[in-house]
Symmetry: C2
Subunit: 254 residues, 2 copies
DNA sequence: TAGTGGTCTAGACCACGGA
DNA sequence: CCGTGGTCTAGACCACTAC
């Protein structure tokens, strides 16, 4: 028979729905435009709201949509390219970066960090909190763990607090010779505090960038930076092509 | 009053559930062990299955669990560190890599790729499919887009097909002088074909690594590699510390 | 065939943002 | 206050795996 057999692999509804919506997004909506609410979209497509939401969830994961409680679902702009390699072989806080220190506390590091720092789980460390912003939007939240042993110049001083202390720690750190660094990227979900800092709900997907800074044959500091996975594309450019350019806004299928 | 007021921010059930499960995973389960099935877990915690699944979903996203239909939910091993920078300034297919070419077709590139290649959307390109495996497990699926203009040596030859053609294209590509390359990482979801190649369901979260290869002032090739986000941690090591080491298997909270 | 996770439904109530 | 997305329920059936 001439009928091309389909349905041998029945496509899930939410998957088909996602495809349809993605095409509509390309052809019928402008960036920033708000979609009809979920109840109406579900009715329009003849599915339950939960099913519709499964499709929206995927599109949000891919950075095509942005959903905000109490507001609505909007068409997201293309992801921002965020350079993560510019500070190649450079201490954090040096250079014209977009990081803003917000806090500094003293604490014992979590087990995973202690392992990376190659220190005991009860060693004192300074924890510097920083936020990276661009165009007024929070891109990433960072916890920089600096063992007290790495910045001996701070032992006597305990005067400043908050951002001031953070800057002092960064300054002391920058006095060490930097031998090199290590980076890794993996998927994670935002904890409660990071989520608030990134203006997202807890559990939002994030790209976790782990950086180890080496000095004098030791690991002098470890940074855990969580980037909003919905809005960021991390670039490791040596050729300035995929950089922070905001690129074309609107595309249409030919 | 001495009562520390909680409940000012009522925690969602699935969030609390996720925390409880994560702790149980650390303290009561070994890697590879299978958990009770979803219906029983839901009953045991007194929640609906959908709610339990929301918690499991998050834990899977974080690489702590692995769920397989018809089998069950198992405790996942720590993520594999996968080096993505070793081929720094090197053509793909050269060196002792773990990539395996599987196919090669001729096609016009999708719009997004055409833009990166700086060619028209209807230019002919070779599309090489490769799979990266480690320890018998599929880690990543790649589509390498090579404009026909980049490998003029192939115009006369059209004899081999499949993997053989793929290797020929890679060989021809390697003859060009490589000026540099560009890399970016972002979150995506696996398409139907990639999902099958990665042994995951469509829509599974992946880390998309986009690489541009430059030669003679032009973009000679573009690679789109999708890494399993649940099992991979991408490393950009200059110091061989976070490399493919499988690391400690089992941890316990002190 | 039995048991697993994956999909889907039709409701309900809650938390948040803006008017 | 109303409308939005976020959470949750108690079911049902389907697709896959292994025995």
């Amino acid at each position: 028979m001439g009928t091309t057999q389909l349905d041998t692999v029945p496509e899930p509804k939410y998957w088909h729905l996602k495809t349809v919506l993605a095409e509509a997004l390309d052809s019928e909506f402008a960036v920033g435009e708000i979609l009809p609410n979920e109840r109406e979209l579900a009715a329009r497509f003849g599915v339950a709201r939960a099913t519709l939401r499964q499709a929206l969830e995927q599109l949000e994961l891919e950075g095509r949509l942005q959903r905000r409680r109490g507001v609505g679902t909007t068409v997201a702009p293309p992801r921002m390219g965020v350079d993560v390699s510019s500070s190649e072989t450079a201490w954090p806080g040096t250079g014209p970066e977009s990081w803003q220190p917000t806090e500094c506390t003293a604490a014992a590091p979590p087990a995973a960090v202690a392992r990376l720092l190659e220190i005991g789980p009860d060693a004192q460390t300074h924890v510097v909190r920083r936020v990276r912003t661009s165009h007024g939007q929070s891109l990433a939240a960072e916890l920089l763990h600096v063992p007290a042993a790495s910045v001996p110049g701070l032992t006597g001083i305990d005067a400043p607090s908050g951002p001031a202390l953070a800057r002092t720690v960064l300054r002391e750190l920058a006095r060490l010779p930097l031998d090199g660094q290590d980076r890794s990227v993996e998927l994670g979900s935002a904890g409660a505090v990071d989520a608030k800092e990134l203006d997202r709900l807890p559990g939002a997907p994030v790209l976790v960038v782990t950086t180890r800074y080496f000095s004098g044959g030791r690991t002098a500091a470890v940074s855990l930076a969580t980037y909003r996975a919905d809005t960021c594309r991390l670039t490791f450019g040596a050729h300035g092509g995929l950089e922070i350019r905001h690129e074309e806004e609107q595309r249409r299928v030919s």
